[in-house]
Amino acid sequence: MSTGGVDSRRVVFSWVMLAPFLVLFLVFVVYPLIQSAFLAANQTFGPGTRTFVGTKNFELLISDPVFWKAIRNTFIYALGSLFVQLPIAFLLALALNSPKLRGRGIYRLIFFSPQLMGLVFVSILGALAFEKRAGLINQALDAAGINDLLVWVTGNDAWLEPDWLQQHVMATLILISLWLYVGFNMIYFLAALQSVDKSLLEAAEIDGAGPWGKLRHVIFPSVKPVATFVILLSMIGSLQLFELPYILLESSGGPDNKGLTIVMYLYQNGFDLGDLGFASAIGWVLALILIGLALVQVKLTRAQEVNA
C-alpha cells in the first residue's frame, strides 16, 4: 500500500515537472497545428472573415505556377546544398583533420565563425559583396579578367557587369550560404572523422591501401551515419529557406520570382495578402515533404543498423 502511494506520488511529481513543457507544447505546437489544418480548408480575408472551402486551397495550389516556381527554386537550393555545400564541408573537414596541418584550431574557428554572426548579418554582407558594379565579387572578377573571358565565351555583354541578385539569384543564394553553412557542416564531419577507428586505418595502410583506398574503404563507411544525418538535416533546412532570400531580395521573391522559396510564398500569402487559409495549405504541403524526408532518414538509418 505504501509502495503504491510512493508510485502515485512519483507519477504526480513527474507530471508536475513535465507540465510547463506540456502546456507550452499544447498551446504553441498542437493547437496551432490543429488550427492550421482547419484554416487550410477555409478562405480567410479581412478582419475575422472565414468561409469553408474544403480542398479548394489545395486545388488552387496545384494549379498555381508561382507555387511550382517556389518549389523549383527551393529544390535547386536544396540540391546546391547537397552537391556543392556538403562536399566542400567534407573536404574541409578532411583537410582540417590532418595532423600535418599547423594551426588547425584557428582554421576551424575561422571556417565556423560565419555561424556566430548569424543569417541577417551574412545576408547584408552578401548583398554588398554581390553588388552590380562596386561589389567585391564583380571587382575581383573584373580585376582577374574573368568578366571579359565570360563575355567572349558566351557572347553576352551582361557578363561585363553581372547583376547577381537579379540575373543569377539562386546561384548567388547558394554561394552566400556556402560561406554560412560550410563551416557548420564541417564540424559534424570533423567529429565523425575524429571517431574513425585508427586501428582500421593502420590495418588498411599495412594492407597497402593508399589515401584514396583508405578514404573509400575505411573513412567513407565510418562517417556514413553522420553523413546521412547531415544530408537530411541540410535538405530539411534548405526546404525551409526563408531569411536569406527575404533579406537579400528585400522581402520579395526577387525579379520574376527567381528567388521565391516555399516558405517565402507562404509568408507572402499569409502576411502580405492576409490569405491565411491558402498559406496554411502551403504549410501543410511543405510539412508533408518534410515528413517524407524524415521517413527516408528513418529508413536509411535502420538499413545502416541492419547492415552493421
Binding site: V6, R9, R10, F13, Q43, T44, F45, G46, P47, G48, T49, T51, L60, L128, E131, K132, R133, A134, G135, A158, L160, D163, Q166, S251, S252, G253, P255, D256, N257, F271, D272, L273, G274, D275, L276, F278
Partner: protein, 471 residues
Amino acid sequence: MHRITNTILALRGLSSGVWVIATLFVISLILVLVRQPEQEGDLQFWVFSPEHAEMYAPLIEEHDASHGVKLDMTVMSIAAIQSRMMSGFFGGLPTADLIEVEKAVAPQAFMGPVDAIGFHDLTDLLLEEGLLTQLNEPSLSPWSVDGRVFGLPHDVHPVMLAYRADITEAAGIDLTLAETWEEYFRMLRPLMEDKDNDARPDHTPLSFWYTNQDLIETLMLQGDGQLFTPSGQPVIANERNAFLLATIVSWCVGPDRVAIDINEWSASGHQEKVDGLAIGYIAPDWMCSIWKMHVPGLEGKLKLMPLPAFEPGGRRTSVRGGTMLGIPKTTQQFDRAWDYAKLLYTSPEVARQLYREVDIISPVRSLWDDPVYNEPDPYFMNQRKGRMYIELAPGIPLRPSSPYNKQAAIDVRDAALNLAEYANRNSVYNAEDLIPEAIRLLDRVQARVEQRMSRNAFAAEDLAAGDGEAQ
C-alpha cells in the same frame, strides 16, 4: 512524519542539474513578480520613423501637460507595425490608439467590406471640421475606399527630376528647356561619350532600371498609367500601360540605352552619384533629405526641375511613397486620439519642422503659404525647393488603395523584366516595337491579379460588378 521524511529523501536524491533548474525557476519567478510594470500612458501611438517621433515629442509633451493626458509613443519598424496592426485587426485584439502607417502597408487593412476595415472612417469628421477641403485632394486617394477616408495624410510626396547641374551647365546644356523625356535624352546625348574607355558612357542621362518596382510605378503614374480603377477593379492590361512599360524598358536596353541602375540606398550607389555616372534622378521630396544625409558630396551640384513629360503637355510630376495616421476602431478614446491626430498632422509647427528636418511638404494647403517653403536650399544651388514641390503638389496622380496594388506592382515589375529580356534576346530596342509584347505580358499580369482577387469574396463581387459595367 513518515511522508515528510520520504519526500525529503526523494528530493535529496535529485541530481544537481535539477536543483540548478529549480533555483533558476524560483529566482526568475520572484523577479517577474517583484518587477513593477512600466507606467502606461492613457493612449498609445505607434510610429515607424524615428525622425517623425523626434518631431512629435515636444508637441505631445506640451499637449499632455495642458490636457492632463499621457500619450505613449513607440517607434517600431514598418514590418513590426504591419504584423501587430494586422494581428490586431484579424484577431480583434487591442492595438494602439493611433497608428502611423506607410503606404505599402495601409492597403492591407482595406481588405474586406468597408464596414469591416479596422480603422475609423474619418470622412464625416473631416467634412464637419472643414479639413477635407484644406487637404491636397490627390493625397487622400491612397487612404480612401469607396470615397471614405480612413487616414489623415502625412505628406504629398510630389516628384521632380534632380540633375547634375554642375555637369550639364559646364557642357552648356540647359536642361530646363527639356519638356519631354525624348527631348531630355536628346539634349544629354553629347555627354554619353566614353572618354575613359571603360566600355560604358561617362555619364548616362537617367538613373532608372526595369527592376526598380518603385520607380516603374512612379513613372507609370506620371504617364497616367493605371493598375486599378478608383473602385478597385484591375485594369492592368491596357494600351496606355503597355506604351508606358515599353517606353521605360526601351530606355534600359540596347547599345544606345539612356538609363543606368544606380543603387538608391547603398554606399557604392551614393559614390556613383558623386562620380556623375547618371545625370538625372527621379526625386520625391523626401529623397532630398536622404541625399543631404548620405551624399553630402553632391551639395551645390544638383538642381531640381519638373519631370519631363511622356508627351508634350503631359504631366510633369508624379508621386512616390506616403504615410497616413489612422485611428483603429479598438480605441476606447477616439476623441482624444482625434485631437492628437489633428495636432500632429495639421499644425503649422510640425509642418515647418517636417520641411526643415526631412524636406517633406505638408498636405495641408492652407500651410503652403508658410515662408519656410520659400527658403533657398544650398544643397540644390539655392533653389527654392519647397515652393517648386508645392507648385507641383496639386497635380500629383491619384493612387489606388487596393490591397492588391502591391502585388500587382510587383507583377508589373516582373513584366518589365521579361520585356527587357525579350528586347535583349530579339535585339528589339524600339519602344513601339516592344508594345505588342508588353500587351501580352500585361495580359498575363491582369489574369494573375484577377485570379488572386477572385479568391476574395468581396473583391469577387467587385470584379463581377466590373464585368457587368463593362457589358
